[in-house]
Amino acid sequence: MKLQIPLLICAIAGIFMAVQYFIPAALPLYERVNDYLQIVFAFSIVLGVASVVHRHGGRLVRRKKDWVYSSLIIFGMLLMLLAGFIGGRGPGTLFQHLFNAVLLPVQATMFALLAFYMASAAFRSFRTRSLDATLLLVAAVFVMVGRLDDFKSLYIPDIARWILDGPNLVSKRAILLGVGLGMASTALKVVLGIERSYLGSGKE
């Protein structure tokens, strides 16, 4: 029963989602099911918070390795919670100030780091160790230089456009076709109960 009920729920939900695609009248029910998902998500957030508190609270209490980081997480979480509950979340509140002055810049910093990571990744991959890497390097040079109007007379922007619209797009579409079929096949296996690894085991 422990396995049969989840499999049955999964099969019913999966079949409904496939069938509703062909039935206009099923749209309201589809929207209702999506609303239920929001409710499930709201409950699962509680699970997530409990996990954070359990993991980092435990580290803090037992003074385990890197407990200082855990104390920062717990402090940050409590601070935001209190700021939200006491002062509200509207404009000009402490919650908004913390969000705008701390969280957003930190997020922007992480995003900005991507530029450096890109440079180091590009350096590694553009080392011409093989034919593939050489082709990649040549294509990348054309595409990057092709962004500049100065090289119009050498037809480099045209070559860059051809690389993007030709070989690049064809490869992307080929991958997409495979991905689509892979998705459909996985979904079918899950709905039919053949693929059960996501349930933790394939056996009762």
């Binding site: 039935i23 699962s44 997530g48 359990h54 997020q107 990744a121 996985t186």
Partner: protein, 402 residues
């Protein structure tokens, strides 16, 4: 009067005479041909409404009409309520709109009011009551239905064939073969394996594929009595990964080796998650990083940090825009559909392998159809008049909502 001035006056007079009536005198005239009909291929929530301009009002001209106002009387209403306005300056002879958010099988009355600049107005005769109707099949999706039935049929047929013992050849996938090597390396080095199941939700098929792989990987790691770390970004995925890993350890016969704190929730925020996982990589120094699932802009942050700590890295995603980052920063990359094939490939279970074969045959059919479609459209274009346009129609896929 100078000559140019006289010409200007003549031109202005000519323009005035040539224009339709600038301001209509007398009572305003109502709009014409108000039509209300059910919107096809919907859930019975919308009606299609169209009407033509009032007599004498010309598209783009100034005939004294200030605006047209569409009005509706719903069941239970005591009078008409304005829905939306249409400007007579629009260069169109007929106006149209969809009235959405209606209830199926309830009757609605419609009227159009023509306002003049003076404030006078004239109403059309009310049309209706008209009821929106539910449709039970998207008739324009027959081709998709046929394709779905064919695909399901092929996959199920090959699964049955595999169950009957037919041997099926599946090509080698280097990235998946390397998982064994990576897990073994971790065990030898006494370091944990870091498994990142992507940052998408459980409704993403790539996440489900990743969870399927996690089940197999957890079993392998448990059999080596090694450690696996699984940081989660989605709170719904988190309990599932916990259960999957726990079950893997149980099936391998080492339930006592499972550590609950190793499968944990981090945060729902994308870059906070990336920062936390990058921190884990630096502090825990995992021997192998498995990045399998759906990734977005954080992919390179994770992959580059992993590379910098010297971990063997196997990444797999169906996010095309992230694949180049993984290819450059990881040792092995599982590209697109290989991610979905991974669970079958690792488990080597015949029924799962059968589905891969069915998928391959369907892909072959798709390739043949693409070649035929390109040929038909090219011949059609050369012959002019596109006699093979029906091929294009036959192969067109329509999204949700028809």
């Amino acid at each position: 009067m100078t000559c140019p001035a006289a010409l200007g006056v003549l031109l202005a007079a000519g323009l005035l005479l040539g224009r339709p009536a600038l301001a209509q005198t007398g009572p305003p005239l109502p709009a014409r041909d108000l039509r209300v009909e059910d919107k096809p291929l919907d859930a019975g929530r919308a009606l299609k409404i169209s009407f033509r301009r009032a007599e004498g009002d010309i598209a783009g001209g100034a005939s004294g009409v200030a605006r047209y106002e569409l009005r509706r009387m719903s069941p239970g209403d005591t009078g008409f309520v304005a829905l939306r306005s249409f400007s007579p300056l629009e260069h169109t002879e007929a106006f149209g709109t969809d009235d959405v958010g209606l209830s199926p099988s309830r009757g609605y009355l419609y009227s159009v009011r023509t306002y003049q600049a003076t404030g006078d107005y004239a109403d059309t005769e009310p049309v209706g009551p008209v009821s929106p109707r539910r449709q039970w099949f998207y008739t324009n999706k027959v081709n998709t239905l046929v394709a779905v039935i064919l695909f399901c049929g092929l996959v199920i047929a090959f699964i049955q064939a595999a169950r009957r013992g037919r041997s099926l050849f599946i090509r080698r996938i280097a990235g998946l073969d390397a998982i064994d090597e990576a897990v073994g390396r971790c065990t030898e080095m006494g370091r944990p394996t870091l498994y990142i199941p992507g940052i998408s939700t459980i409704s993403d098929v790539a996440t489900i594929a990743s969870l399927n792989i996690l089940g197999q990987v957890a079993k392998k790691i448990a059999s080596y009595q090694a450690r696996i770390l699984v940081p989660n970004r989605d709170p719904i995925v988190y309990p599932v990964t916990q259960d999957v890993v726990k079950q893997g350890f149980l099936e391998a016969g080492y339930p006592d080796q499972y550590r609950e704190e190793d499968v944990y929730y981090v945060t729902n925020d994308q870059f906070a998650y990336a920062a936390a996982v990058a921190g884990t990589m630096v502090r825990e120094k995992p021997g192998a990083n498995l990045l399998l699932g759906m990734f977005y802009a954080e992919s390179l942050v994770l992959a580059e940090t992993g590379a910098s700590v010297g971990a063997i890295q196997i990444a797999g995603t169906d996010a095309i825009s992230q694949l180049p980052f993984f290819v450059t920063a990881c040792d092995y990359t599982i590209i697109g559909e290989e991610l979905y094939a991974a669970s079958s490939y690792i488990s080597r279970e015949p029924t799962l392998l059968g589905s891969l074969k069915g998928q391959d045959i369907y892909k072959l059919i798709c390739i043949i159809l693409i070649v035929l479609g390109v040929l038909a459209m090219t011949i059609g274009a050369i012959a002019q008049g596109e006699p093979f346009r029906w091929v294009n129609e036959m192969l067109r896929v329509r999204g949700t909502g028809g």
